[in-house]
Symmetry: C2
């Protein structure tokens, strides 16, 4: 296997690869709003066919399509599955972007756009690895499967039935998850699991219309009710107060603590970049990755009620809504947390507040001792020339448990982002250099996996 030939192919075609990425970024695909989903799925399928994969769209009827692609190896019986998603987060707040979030604009070596890091960069990078192998070697080193779904950012509600219905299609020996990158020192990040997530919306109602705020002594205010209800969920010491919330919470093993020590989380750099004097509770050192990876959270993602434009309006609003997400650690199951939340609100006198689920995924991990994990770490360290930062779990979430727990193979997350890729935030970006390097990394990994 002449990896050098692959690297040269990637370098020679880097402008073409970046051009395809920009094309994909220009196609909006905001699953939360249902914008451009079919169009983006078709574009992804077309890109798959262009690089040489055989494709299939599943399901045909329900939710946003899952785009599936595969190619057999002539030399190996091993199968590696790539999990990715073509849907992106909503781009708001638009006024904080330096360019149109669906422009794919390139400035100073960075490609900007909603989804360029999460997750379109990795989609294109991985597809181009297939093209590179086929065009230089005539074959791929292992069997390859792609699962590129369109609902990751809204909790993957339709992926479980798809996996259940097509178990054989998704069988593999190992999987590479959607995201990753390098930290500020150029060390590759390797993630061995995910937190769970539960997204909910709370809605409070008052009168059947807004009224003049002079009526405040008489007319209930749903904005106050929601503010009070939120306060029963988490206090200002950041303690989540829902009965039983912390039951079953996973703590780091001795092995994982050792792993955390090697991360050397770049706290000062991050705080400086975010303009923060301190993290919550002034945590530092080893407590930073410990908090990030092992602490479950309850976050207000959004809150809207009444008049929010310029100046003042003496209105008493008749509805209020808050969006929250809970990040869950291993053994906290989202359906149980949902029930506990509903029960908690009822018990605390807020049974009138409607609780709507916007999707959930379970927490999941692959042990660091797993052979595939070791292959990924070693390959990353070889390609990037630096010690990997190995995270026993990511602070992020996704439907990894479907692959790791249901289908039973190791799953590791690596990718072509960087520390300031700003996923889910304005000015999301990746560097062209990181994109090309990440492509070479995946190519190398296919080879190393084939011979491991």
């Amino acid at each position: 296997m002449h990896l050098q030939e692959i690297y040269e192919y990637v370098d020679a075609h880097s402008q073409e690869f970046i051009g395809d990425l920009v094309r994909l970024v220009k196609q909006p695909s905001v699953s939360a709003k249902g914008e451009g989903m079919q169009e983006c799925a078709k574009m992804v399928e077309k890109m798959m066919r262009e690089v040489g994969l055989s494709t299939r769209i599943i399901p045909e009827k329900e939710g946003n399509p899952v785009v599936y692609g595969e190619i057999k190896s002539e030399t190996s019986k091993k199968t590696l599955l790539f999990y990715n998603h073509y849907d992106v987060q909503p781009p708001e707040p638009l006024e904080e972007w330096i360019c149109d979030p669906f422009s794919g604009e390139i400035r100073n070596g960075k490609i900007y756009g909603r989804g360029v890091s999460d997750n379109k960069g990795n989609i294109v990078s991985r597809l181009k690895v297939v093209q590179a192998f086929l065009e230089t070697m005539g074959s791929v080193p292992v069997n390859i499967k792609f699962v590129i779904e369109g609902e990751e950012e809204i909790g993957s509600p339709h992926l479980p039935p798809v996996i259940q219905k097509h178990k054989n299609l998704f069988s593999a020996d190992a999987a590479i998850w959607e995201f990753g990158g390098t930290n500020r020192k150029g060390r590759p990040d390797v993630y061995l699991g995910l937190k769970g997530v539960l997204s909910v919306e709370l809605r409070a109602k008052g009168a059947n219309r807004d009224v003049h705020s002079a009526n405040a002594p008489l007319i209930p205010n749903p904005a106050w009710r929601l503010a009070w209800a939120l306060n029963t969920l988490k206090n200002d010491k950041d303690e989540i107060l829902i009965d039983g919330f912390y039951d079953n919470v996973d703590t780091p093993s001795a092995e994982e603590i050792e792993c955390l020590k090697t991360i050397r989380y770049e706290e000062e750099e991050e705080k400086k970049e975010l303009g923060l004097k301190e993290y919550i509770h002034d945590v530092s050192g080893l407590d930073v990755p410990k908090a990030l990876l092992y602490q479950p959270t309850c976050t207000i993602n959004g809150f809207l009620t009444g008049y929010t434009d310029k100046g003042s309006k003496t209105v008493l609003p008749n509805k209020a809504m808050a969006k929250l997400d809970f990040r869950l650690v291993r053994r906290q199951m989202p359906n149980e947390i949902f029930s506990k939340l509903v029960r908690h609100l009822k018990n605390r006198g807020f049974g009138d507040i409607e609780v709507i689920s916007h999707g959930s995924t379970e927490p999941v991990k692959t042990p660091i001792t797993d052979k595939f994990v070791q292959t990924v770490i070693k390959t990353a360290e070889k390609v990037y020339g630096k010690e990997a930062a190995v995270y026993p779990t990511s602070a992020g979430s996704g439907p990894m448990h479907l692959f790791r727990n249901w289908l039973g193979y190791p799953v590791v997350s690596v990718g072509c982002g960087h520390a300031e890729s700003r996923a889910h935030a304005p000015n999301e970006n990746i560097t062209a250099e990181g994109f090309i390097k990440g492509t070479k990394f995946i190519a190398t990994l296919l080879h190393e996996f084939s011979v491991s």
Copy 2:
């Protein structure tokens, strides 16, 4: 004085009067956003001149113009001043309107539009009384002054210096305030005072940009900080917790209690119309007007943070803002309450939250024993043929103290609205019938005042 002749003139010209009102409603004049203020001021001044008043625009440079108009009587030395405002509340939420809020659309005898009740209906009604007297009698029964300002809905920030600078211009023997109407039984409402109001905005800040909510264990969330801060202001028993907030609170006198008894507040009708089972604390009977008129309040007018569109977004927002108003009863001074609020937030560990004032006015009253008050009540009862509902104070607010306390004459509020006029809410309206009746009432009042 042949009032019958005036009434006939008003009836004969009612379509013209309504047409002029619709024209004024069609001119947006949202002071909170600075929309259409100059245009509306000019339109009001033109209408003044058309009915026969001499006019003056003050001040020329600062804030939205105050439109002043006057006409001398040939028969009386008494002067009555009308206080009105041409600015309106923002029309949002737009989706709850049955028509364009700036259309002045007429449906089933009702004229709809932002500001039609608060306060353009009363402006046109009162101006047309001048026209009616001049065209039928050749003179007005008393000297008349109009003060029509453009910043009432934002706390009248520039009216105090105007009054101070032009004290003689605003001298009078009595004033009629901007608002009023009839209740569901057709009884005329008469208001003898106003609550004070203080409008503020609270702003919390986190990192210098939104981040992925996976970072919640480390990155402070301004949405939570604001929710926690709000909870320190008022608990779920509706008790305001700001130190010293209830100092100096005025309670009803024995005379006022007697007055409250005659109101017979239409609680069941109001609750039914608003779709409410109970008022706050299930108050009923005499406790309803007592709460409404004597209880100071703290109302969330608006709250905005993060993602508030469809579905979910796992974002940790970097800013949050809430708009609040405090309604104050007599002897609670808004500047003192502002200082107490700032001090309270600081003492409770929320000194990082920025507090911005969006204007304020003081609480004020004229005693029911005042001779002018008695003239207004008797005239109202004569014109409407029903017992007046006399409110020792309104639950609303405005710059009445400038006239009552600074200039020292009695001020009473009456007008041409009705119980479902929906001031500050979607589908604000008045009835054509109430508008014409209200016009006749003001005409009669001018006469009664001249002979009192």
